[in-house]
């Protein structure tokens, strides 16, 4: 009885093949949706990906991953019309949204009435074709008319039938909609569209079948080209936005922002030169800036013990008053011990100091992209880009966003150790971030480092020979001892100040490192990444600044953060133009 079994095998192989195909398709869909609608947050406002099995009339049948729609009613009268909506409404952050429907069959011959393709709001009657009711819009294949919330259509485009591909494009900037037929735009069909519309298709003839393409396949119509036009329009609008009459104040304000930014991140020599050339006062003593710089460098190079010590020395009461901060620093110190980079374990181990501890991305100080996800720090995004931006922008420009767009440089960074700063030309080119080694800096003010006696080593090929605490037994013991101290400090804190889940989690994660033979390749190994020093460094820096009554955040970062917030607010309130005005585009 080989027949049934071979049949079964065949079926299975089909299923398996189908699954593979599905995942391929899924991947392609995700990729296409991301590139089409980069401003859409899929968690907040998911994009339509298929027809909804829950939001349809009973005469509608779905198949092929809910992308194919067929009609299973009688199709005798308009009362037999049936529609289906997509799973989600169209997010405003798309800016321009597009989907296509291919007519697989226009249904049984002799039926003169057939399908409509369009949009409808949640709750519109599904026992109807799109366009017949309020908040419902459709283009009908039998007569080529458009139906704008009305039972009577207006002459709009050509009729369509089996084999045609009909596209529907919603412009969320001017709230209009146009259709395409086989890749040709048919012109505006609807204006003044309400928000939160769902892609909708309606059928009314037995045998009617249509397939949707929400991005699963390349579109017949060149929607990217249309989007390019709108992106250019929006960006021209931004560029031409009137700044106000008092241009001089703008310049002063921008100079202030730049100066405060430099001070905040302790680029003291640069800050000094900048202040001098733009005739500004610096609101913090140079010594203080240098102190902060010193501490930051220690944190970023993983020398937490020294960092804590230096902080206690320079700002005696700071950590005493802020035990949570101290705890956080200590936890980090523990991690650096595991890493083998903390000074305490380093002097114990015979290990070459040249490993792991150099920090490859010094310009990404403080607010790392990691922080992007945490909602409490929304304003701290994109520091990386701020650095990039501000060192490629020229001084005193009328409009940061506008002018920075003019300057493109792949790698333009400030090197904290020995930086060149030319008052006349702020543009600098450095081949890569190289801590301490100034490859292309030609002249200028030394930003400290070597005089501080802190050597920031080059990244080595140490990756391959990583060992716990640098491989020294003594160091491991010291680490374990330190861990115990940390444990007791945690208990002490809990007794005094009550439970703190953040602290608890922090400690737990740090200790978890010891559960793995190779902590670097463990699920908690990310903690050992030097990028994790950034939030610690940023928090410490902000705390120090606060004690001096200086802002926790540099105004420049604040402004960028506000712009980003503004855009996400626009997305939520239905202003589609936010899609084409990403802050990152302006921070080259």
């Amino acid at each position: 009885m080989s027949g049934p079994s071979s049949g079964c095998g065949f079926l299975m192989s089909v299923v398996v093949h189908g699954d593979l195909a599905l995942s391929e398709q899924e991947k392609e869909l995700n990729q296409r949706l991301r590139s089409l609608y980069p401003a859409v947050s899929d968690q907040e406002t998911p994009l339509p990906r298929s027809w909804s099995p829950k939001d349809k009339f009973s005469y509608i049948g779905l198949s092929q991953n809910n992308l194919r729609v067929h009609y299973k009613g009688h199709g005798k009268t308009p009362k037999d019309a049936a529609s289906v909506r997509a799973t989600h409404s169209i997010p405003a952050a798309c800016g321009v949204y597009y989907f296509e429907v291919k007519i697989i069959s226009k249904g049984r011959d002799g039926y003169v009435k057939y399908m409509g393709i369009g949009l409808s709001a949640q709750g519109v009657n599904m026992n109807r074709l799109p366009g017949w009711d309020k908040h419902s819009y459709g283009y009908h294949g039998d007569d080529g008319h458009s139906f704008c919330s009305s039972g009577t259509g207006q002459p709009y485009g050509p009729t369509f039938t089996t084999g045609d591909v009909i596209g529907c494009c919603v412009n969320l900037i001017n709230n209009t909609c146009f259709y395409t037929k086989n890749g040709h735009s048919l012109g505006i069909a609807f204006t003044d569209l309400p928000p939160n519309l769902y892609p909708t298709v309606g059928l009314q003839t037995p045998g009617e079948v249509v397939d949707a393409n929400f991005g699963q396949h390349p579109f017949v119509f060149d929607i990217e080209d249309y989007m390019r036009e709108w992106r250019t329009k929006i960006q021209a609008q931004i560029d031409c936005f009137p700044i106000g009459e008092r241009e001089g104040e703008w310049q002063a304000m921008i100079q202030k922002m730049v100066a405060s930014y430099l001070v905040h991140h302790s680029y003291c020599a640069t800050a000094e030169a900048f202040a001098k050339s733009t005739d500004q006062a610096v609101h913090e003593e140079l010594a203080s800036i240098k102190n902060r710089q010193k501490i930051q460098k220690l944190v970023l190079s993983g020398r937490m013990g020294e960092a804590i010590e230096t902080t206690q020395q320079l700002y005696p009461s700071l950590l005493e008053r802020n035990s949570d901060l101290l705890f956080m620093l200590k936890v980090r110190q523990f991690i650096e011990m595991v890493n083998g980079t903390d000074s305490e374990v380093r002097c114990l181990g015979g290990r070459s100091p040249k490993s792991q501890d150099s920090y490859p991305g010094s310009p990404r100080l403080f607010n790392s992209p990691v922080h992007k996800a945490s909602s409490s720090q929304t304003y701290q995004t994109s520091t990386y880009y701020i650095h990039k931006f501000f060192f490629s922008a020229s001084i005193g420009k009328k409009n940061i966003l506008q002018k920075s767009g003019l300057l493109h440089q792949k790698k333009t960074f400030l090197v904290p150790k020995s930086t060149c700063f030319l008052a006349a030309e702020v543009e600098m080119e450095v081949d890569h971030f190289s801590n301490g080694v100034s490859e292309s800096s030609s002249n200028g003010f030394l930003n400290g480092s070597s005089t501080h006696g802190i050597d920031l080593e080059e990244l080595d090929s140490a990756q391959s020979k990583r060992q716990l605490c640098g491989g020294s037994q003594a160091a491991i013991e010291r680490m374990i001892q330190f861990g115990r101290e940390l444990q007791s400090m945690s208990e002490h804190l809990r007794r005094e100040r009550g439970k703190n889940s953040a602290n608890k989690k922090m400690l737990k994660d740090a200790f978890s490192l010891l559960a793995y033979s190779d902590p670097w390749n463990s699920p908690v190994g990310y903690q050992l990444d030097s990028i994790q020093r950034e939030p610690v460094c940023s928090t410490l820096n902000s705390a120090i600044l606060e004690t001096h009554n200086l802002p926790k955040q540099p105004p420049l970062a604040l402004a960028v953060g506000q712009a980003a917030q503004c855009l996400s607010l626009m997305a939520r309130t239905g202003s589609g133009s936010c899609a084409f005005a990403s802050v990152d585009d302006y921070l080259h």
Binding site: G157, P158, S185, L186, G187, E229
Partner: protein
């Protein structure tokens, strides 16, 4: 004379003249250093000052500057400054340019290009560019010296500036097929193609313009262009990228022109994606209300040209972005709003109103040239027929021509002839247009009239009554073959199934002499239509008493001459029609020569001719007519029965049928 004008103009000008004279005087200073400083001061004085420019020209600065520029003893710096000042003078009014050209500035500057100093060359080129792009400069001056073009080609590699200026000169000075050939032969394509990806927008743009003027109606250039690669990419793809919607409009439009011209020259198929999905939509976008009036004009004209020969493109365009109704907007200038609110805008609108209207008519004409549904859509556009009617009598010749082209395109529709054409009495302005118009308008108008005279057209009657016959007869005497064809064609249509009265009128108005002249017309179309007219005139029992002999003569002449099958077929048909009348039968039967010819054509290898000849014989032997017995006998003697018998076996069913019917006449 110029100085005289100048003195007359203003009293206060005397002061200005004094300072201007000072500048000119310094050009003659014996110390070269002072001359140089003088030229530099002059440069600073003339920038943006048109009056100062005019003064200096009147005071004779130009010949001196040119002299200094050409002197090899002048320092390079001085020569360069001279070129810069001349360039500045050229930036003024058209009169300035005229004066400069009259002073032979062009050969002097072209000579300067032989220098090896780049700065000097660039200054010369900048000035040449400004002179050449002026409409008052004769383009031909670029081609007078055959060494100039190759030298310009060689300068293209020097700098972005030389690239920009030279391509701009080429783009403006390539106006005829001869110019295209000269530039092509000197390697324009290979030299300019790499500039399409230049980092400078200006260079890219001017290079693109060069290709659009080079490719226009030029198959050789177009065919070469499709095979050109720029940085590994096909040129057509480079053009497609330049049409992207975020590119400047000027660039999109010019790239679309390049592809359009390449397509029309046969280098790119009309169903190629770069035409269907890119060029056509791009041009439709150029017609939208968002574009500048100039862009809308160019967009519409280019689109009309692109799709003229292709029904599929016409169909696509007709549904793209509401093009048909979008064009209706072209007729709304100057808008009523602009008249009230903004005098500047009104002026702008007025300037472009004619251009817009003619462009829209052209595009409608192109859209409706083949598809009945599109024609219907066009005539149903708001006030369309009224607009055409008023367009026919506009003062602008361009608008009139375009309007009549549009009307002609729509007149190919039986439906429209029966309805909208009649409702709007379009024949009236059309007739008026025919009275007094240049040839190109006449060709279109008379061609349209031909359609209006078709027998099912309700306009035929009123046109007849308006005394059109004289007019059409005069057209048949025109020097233009197209007009002769249309004249005789219209008469032919008019004579189709017409009253005897009309036929007599036509014959009288045309005159036999003219009729025979047309029968020996060198243009086959004219001959064909004349034969058609004869056939229509003779179709109903013609009275041959008056012209019988001449017609027989003409028929003999044509049958003996070297003519196409179609002409001979038509002639035999005429003979057959003649053979239907009594007197005519005699004429044929007594003409053995003619009978031999008929016999010959019955045995011809072409079925059409066999059929026509058989038709002829069949008429001669028809039973019910007087004297049929004698004719049957005579023709039997001549062997016609045998031939007919043979033809009953013919493979062509029509011929076979016709022969059988003829045989029956003998059997009855």
């Amino acid at each position: 004379v110029m100085r005289y004008d100048f003195v007359l103009s203003f009293v206060t000008m005397q002061e200005v003249t004094a300072t201007s004279r000072h500048y000119v005087d310094r050009l003659f200073d014996p110390d070269p250093q002072n001359v140089l400083q003088g030229v530099i001061d002059m440069k600073n004085a003339v920038i943006g000052n048109n009056r100062q420019k005019a003064n200096l020209i009147v005071l004779g600065a130009v010949p001196r500057l040119l002299y200094l520029l050409q002197q090899s003893s002048s320092s390079l710096e001085l020569r360069t400054e001279c070129a810069v000042v001349l360039g500045s003078l050229a930036m003024g009014t058209e009169n300035n340019i005229k004066s400069l050209v009259d002073c032979h500035i062009i050969p002097a500057l072209l000579q300067g290009l032989l220098c090896s100093d780049l700065i000097f060359i660039e200054a010369c080129l900048r000035c040449l560019r400004t002179v050449f792009i002026s409409p008052v400069t004769p383009v031909q001056l670029l081609y007078t010296d055959p060494t100039v073009i190759p030298h310009l080609m060689s300068l293209l590699s020097l700098s972005q500036h030389t690239q920009e200026y030279i391509t701009q000169i080429f783009a403006h000075c390539c106006k005829t097929p001869e110019h295209q050939t000269v530039l092509f032969n000197h390697g324009a394509i290979q030299n300019i193609a790499p500039l399409l990806i230049s980092p400078s927008y200006k260079v890219r743009m001017q290079a693109l313009k060069c290709f659009s003027v080079l490719a226009y109606e030029n198959a050789q250039v177009s065919m070469t262009l499709v095979n050109v690669l720029v940085d590994g990419e096909q040129l057509s793809q480079v053009f497609v990228r330049m049409m992207q919607r975020d590119k400047p409009i000027e660039m999109q439009l010019t790239a679309a022109k390049c592809l359009t011209y390449m397509c029309r020259a046969g280098a790119i198929r009309t169903d190629d994606n770069c035409i269907v999905l890119k060029t056509l939509p791009c041009l439709v976008r150029m017609c939208s209300k968002e574009r500048l009036l100039e862009e809308r004009v160019e967009g519409a004209e280019t689109l009309a040209y692109l799709m003229e020969p292709d029904i599929e493109l016409q169909r696509i365009a007709s549904v793209t972005d509401h093009l048909v109704s979008m064009l209706a907007d072209y007729f709304k200038y100057p808008s009523s709003v602009s008249a009230i609110t903004d005098i500047k805008r009104l002026d702008h609108d007025l300037k472009h109103a004619h251009e817009l209207r003619q462009a829209a008519f052209k595009l409608y004409a192109s859209l409706g040239s083949n598809d009945e549904d599109i024609r219907k859509k066009i005539t149903e556009t708001e006030n369309m027929m009224d607009r055409i009617v008023s367009g026919l009598s506009e003062s602008s010749i361009k608008v009139r021509l375009a309007a009549v082209r549009c009307l002609h395109s729509l007149s190919r529709s039986v439906q429209q002839l029966r309805t909208s054409f009649h409702d709007h009495a379009v024949w009236k302005p059309l007739m008026k247009l025919l009275q007094n118009a240049p040839d190109e308008v006449l060709v279109m108008a008379s061609s349209t009239l031909c359609n209006l005279l078709l027998e099912f057209s309700p306009s035929k009657e009123p046109i007849l009554e308006s005394g059109v016959i004289e007019l059409l007869c005069s057209l048949t005497q025109s020097d233009s073959p197209a007009l002769r064809v249309n004249g005789i064609w219209a008469l032919m249509n008019m004579a189709f199934q017409a009253d005897q009265k009309v036929k007599v009128e036509i014959v009288q108005a045309l005159g036999t002499e003219q009729l025979f002249r047309l029968l020996s017309d060198p243009d086959t179309n004219v001959l064909m239509k004349t034969l058609g007219l004869l056939r229509n005139l003779l179709s109903t029992r013609p009275d041959m008493s008056s012209h019988g002999k001449q017609i027989m003569q003409a028929v003999t002449l044509i049958l003996e001459g070297e003519h196409s099958i179609e002409v001979k077929e038509q002639t035999l048909c005429i003979l057959a029609n003649i053979a239907d009348g009594n007197t005519a039968k005699e004429l044929i039967m007594t003409n053995d020569d003619m009978l031999q010819k008929i016999k010959y054509y019955m045995g011809h290898s072409n079925v059409k001719l066999q059929l026509a000849a058989t038709f002829c014989i069949s008429n001669l032997i028809w039973n019910e007519e007087d004297g049929s017995q004698e004719r049957q006998d005579k023709l039997r003697e001549m062997g016609f029965v045998d031939i007919l018998h043979k033809l009953t076996q013919a493979s062509d069913p029509n011929l076979c049928d016709r022969a059988k019917k003829a045989m029956q006449q003998y059997l009855a």
